[in-house]
């Protein structure tokens, strides 16, 4: 970390700075601005990721009626399973919030506990989703059956892949905090992870509303 003494050069526009009149030391401000820059950069990435989801949502919305005389959402969707998936993901957003509190309160038990429960809930969500996918494929409603089902598997599967990546990232964060402690660089990664996890839950809100609830009713 050689950046502490050359902050002016790294941050010429004073992007993360408290206007020059602050009690926080130079090094503390530099660390703070680095956190803001990392979080903001990841925020931009998340928004672009959501725009990608929007494209998949658009193609799904356009293709919902293109069932090629095959099954439609009303014939296929099981809202009980979706309700359980929703409960898992919503609770996991809450527990990842508890892990975040554990970080700034410097309580490792809260962090590990929150992250562990988040992992279990996320894995349960993935298991339920995989069960749904295999049952659809077994009923001859796989992604190759119709344009509607292709769009469905692309959209929901893309979210599932994000959750899978999030679970791997979660384990990595637990291991890094365990091995290296609450270091500023590790904490920036934990911040980005929690942003990612909450954003996945926001995408799921759109998913269960648009795909499952609207689809089951039409």
């Amino acid at each position: 970390m050689s950046g502490h003494h050359s902050t002016a050069g790294m941050d010429p526009n004073h992007i993360g700075h408290a206007g020059g009149s602050g009690p926080p030391s130079h090094a503390a401000r530099a660390a703070g601005s680095k956190r803001v820059i990392a979080g903001y950069g990841f925020w931009i990435f998340l928004l672009s990721d959501i725009i990608m989801f929007a494209a998949f949502f658009a193609s799904y919305a356009v293709l919902t009626d293109a069932t090629a005389k095959g099954p439609s959402g009303r014939d296929l969707f099981d809202l009980h399973g979706v309700a359980w998936e929703t409960a898992c993901l919503l609770l996991s957003s809450f527990t990842s919030g508890i892990a975040t509190i554990g970080v700034w309160a410097r309580r490792k038990s809260w962090f590990y506990g929150g992250m562990a429960v988040t992992f279990v809930l996320g894995a349960t969500f993935l298991g339920l989703e995989l069960r749904e996918f295999t049952s659809l494929v077994a009923r001859d409603a796989g992604p190759s059956r119709s344009a509607f089902l292709s769009a469905f598997f692309t959209l929901v599967g893309c979210h599932g892949l994000h959750v899978t990546a999030g679970l791997l990232w979660l384990l990595t964060m637990m291991a890094q905090v365990w091995a290296k402690g609450f270091r500023p660089d590790i904490l920036r990664r934990v911040l980005c992870f929690s942003l990612f996890w909450h954003a996945l839950d926001i995408v799921w809100v759109a998913l269960f509303s648009v795909v499952y609830l609207m689809g089951a009713g039409r």
């Binding site: 903001y40 508890i98 509303s209 609207m214 009713g217």
Partner: protein, 128 residues
């Protein structure tokens, strides 16, 4: 302008340092969880029962979903209207604009396309 604009930015997802009390933090997440659960349950009830006039169900679901996303943004991602969050909100607003353009534009264009084209099975007939 300059006095406010000079206030430090805050990373998305972070709460202001003065607000970091454990009880307060847990309460915030609990309120978010409660509101989100309520909106989710209402969504499932609206879709699963006949309590709401059927043609209005998609609009009702969309409104509930947008409300729940707002709850997530405020209580889980700590996006606020404060001066320390201006950059986060501006980026979010741009993202929402693009999302709206992509989805609404696609639906609009393709519905016109469908209106101006023969149904698909007739096209298939003509190609034989």
């Amino acid at each position: 302008m300059s006095e406010h604009a000079r206030q430090a930015d805050i990373a998305p997802g972070d709460e202001p340092i003065d607000d970091r009390e454990i009880a307060k933090g847990v309460r915030g997440y609990l309120i978010g969880l409660g509101l989100a659960t309520l909106l989710t349950v209402v969504s499932f009830v609206v879709a699963g029962t006949g309590w709401v006039w059927a043609p209005s169900i998609p609009i009702a679901l969309a409104v509930l979903a947008v409300a729940q996303m707002g709850v997530h943004l405020v209580f889980f991602l700590h996006i606020t209207t404060g001066p320390d969050n201006v950059n986060n909100v501006m980026a979010l607003a741009f993202g929402v604009l693009i999302v709206f353009l992509v989805i609404a534009g696609s639906l609009w264009i393709v519905s016109h396309l469908n209106q101006n084209m023969l149904p698909m099975d007739q096209i298939m007939q003509m190609q034989r």
